[in-house]
Amino acid sequence: MSSLHSRSLARVALLPAVSLLLIWMLVPLCMTLYYSVLDFNLLIPGENDYIGWLNYEFFLTDPAFTESFFNTILLVGGVLLITIGGGIGLAILLDQAIWGQNYVRLLVLAPFFVMPTVSALVWKNMFMNPVNGLFAHLAIFFGAEPVDFFSQFPLLSVIVIVSWQWLPFATLILLTAIQSLDREQLEAAELDSAGPWSKFVYLVVPHLSRAITAVVLIETIFLLSIFAEILVTTSGGPGYASTNITYLIYTQSLLQFDVGMASAGGIVAVIIANLVAIVLMRLIGKNLEG
């Protein structure tokens, strides 16, 4: 009686969220699919003829496409590595007994609140600029040559900036997970003369697996479409060295207001993102259950 009632009630409760998201997903998706097979350039008013796969072909055969694809993977992978690796380390550190633990956490949390464009601009102009930036001054102080970050290490520089933004997020989640670690288990392991490394590998890491999974999933969603940071710093260059798929769509299509090709690029990006999600879920999805 009550379970049937609550079953249909449950469906009704879901209705607003699901229907809204359905509309939000379907309408742009359908429009994008529609435009992707048209020859539609905003600046060239005309017939908008149907051209079939031409937009896709053009987008995919662009020599920049392969490089952007790998850059996207590198970007996501690099940031994940730094934020999770750094996050685990920081979390363990912050878990120790230290003075002013709350204030330290405050400081570590701060970068997450800063607007991506602001962080990118600050890093670009005040730190990485090879003439006026702080790193340049430090290099000269130590008698070394200032490094031109955005010309020599464009993708790495973007990875550094994005990692700085996301490190607090990862640290916080991992810290709370660590704080729920069963102390008794740890002590028992010590009694069995387990060293700090094996304690780490066999007790801490498995416990963290769920938190790590959550971090990976959320970050990946956001990292796949990094745009503002690239726009503000390297503009995708030099060449295509720091262009990811999202930025490629921008330069190849939006910059020329070629709506048809931008749509085709968008569909390609969706397919790639879904593939990545499927792979991720296969790899670590089990960790979320329970």
Partner: protein, 273 residues
């Protein structure tokens, strides 16, 4: 003895790293009080310079900061609250009336975030134009709600799952209706999680720098547009940019700090056992 020694070492280490992480923000705030010439000088100093408020004056007289500020608040808080309103029933349903489709539903919701905004820019712009939503706060609230809804639902779902079913069932047995169940039983327990979800979303909506730039003009432009007007004008601008940045991130930084505990509780995603 051992303990104090390790406490000292860890404290030093932790504070150094925290300082390094926080440094860019500190540097920005400090630069906002320097003159432009000082800001790009080849021997920058940390505290020893002529402090001045001229950048803040310039920025305030050049742009309607408070208009942007109000817009940011309305858009961020509004979309988060509406999102919560829609998401709480959905998350309740998924957490307590779980079916085998539930996980797929969750993944599908997350997948709606996978279409990069650059790809749908023009279609959305056209829709907004036709509905008269361009440069309106309502239009932006709608967009922000929709793009963050999956995150809100997901966070609430994992937090609700921590709550033992028995509490809700006993309320039902006592004759509570669905509404009463949610409001009087679920929410008090879930309040920390709901609060931190709300806060995280306010942060995400506050910092969103794509739709807020494309769909606004003069009336509804939030702080992200305010920053965009300082990004690379002609002439020296580091100090002014710092002042503008400080003014753009200060509100959210302050709010985030005051609610840090809530944030931590909710962000843990039920990973805390």
């Amino acid at each position: 003895m051992q303990k104090t020694q390790s406490k000292i070492i860890y404290s030093v280490l932790a504070w150094s790293i925290a300082f390094l992480i926080f440094f860019p923000i500190l540097w920005t705030v400090l630069t906002s009080f320097k003159t432009e010439a000082e800001a790009i000088s080849s021997s920058p100093s940390l505290f020893m310079f002529d402090w001045t408020l001229v950048n803040y004056e310039d920025v305030l007289s050049r742009s309607p900061y408070f208009l942007h500020f109000t817009n940011s608040i309305i858009i961020a808080v509004g979309s988060s609250l509406i999102g919560l309103l829609i998401a709480i029933p959905a998350a309740w349903s998924m957490a307590f009336a779980q079916t085998d489709k539930t996980k797929h539903l969750l993944m599908w919701m997350l997948s709606t975030k996978m279409l990069p905004p650059v790809g749908v820019l023009i279609p959305i712009y056209l829709i907004f134009r036709d509905f008269g939503l361009l440069d309106t706060r309502l239009g932006l609230v709608i967009v922000m709600t929709l793009i963050n809804l999956p995150i809100i639902v997901w966070m609430l779902f994992t937090y609700f799952k921590e709550i033992p079913k028995d509490i809700l069932e006993s309320a039902r047995v006592d004759g509570a209706s669905l509404g009463q169940e949610i409001v009087y039983v679920l929410m008090p327990i879930a309040l920390p999680g709901i609060a931190s979800t709300l806060l995280l979303n306010i942060i995400l909506a506050w910092n969103e720098a794509f739709w807020t730039l494309i769909l606004t003009a003069a009336d509804s432009a939030p702080l992200t547009a305010f920053i965009a007007s300082y990004s690379s004008p002609e002439g020296l601008f580091y100090a002014k940019l710092s002042a503008a940045s400080a003014m753009a991130i200060a509100p959210i930084l302050v709010m985030g700090w005051f609610s840090q505990k809530q944030l931590v509780r909710g962000l843990s995603f039920g990973a805390v056992k």
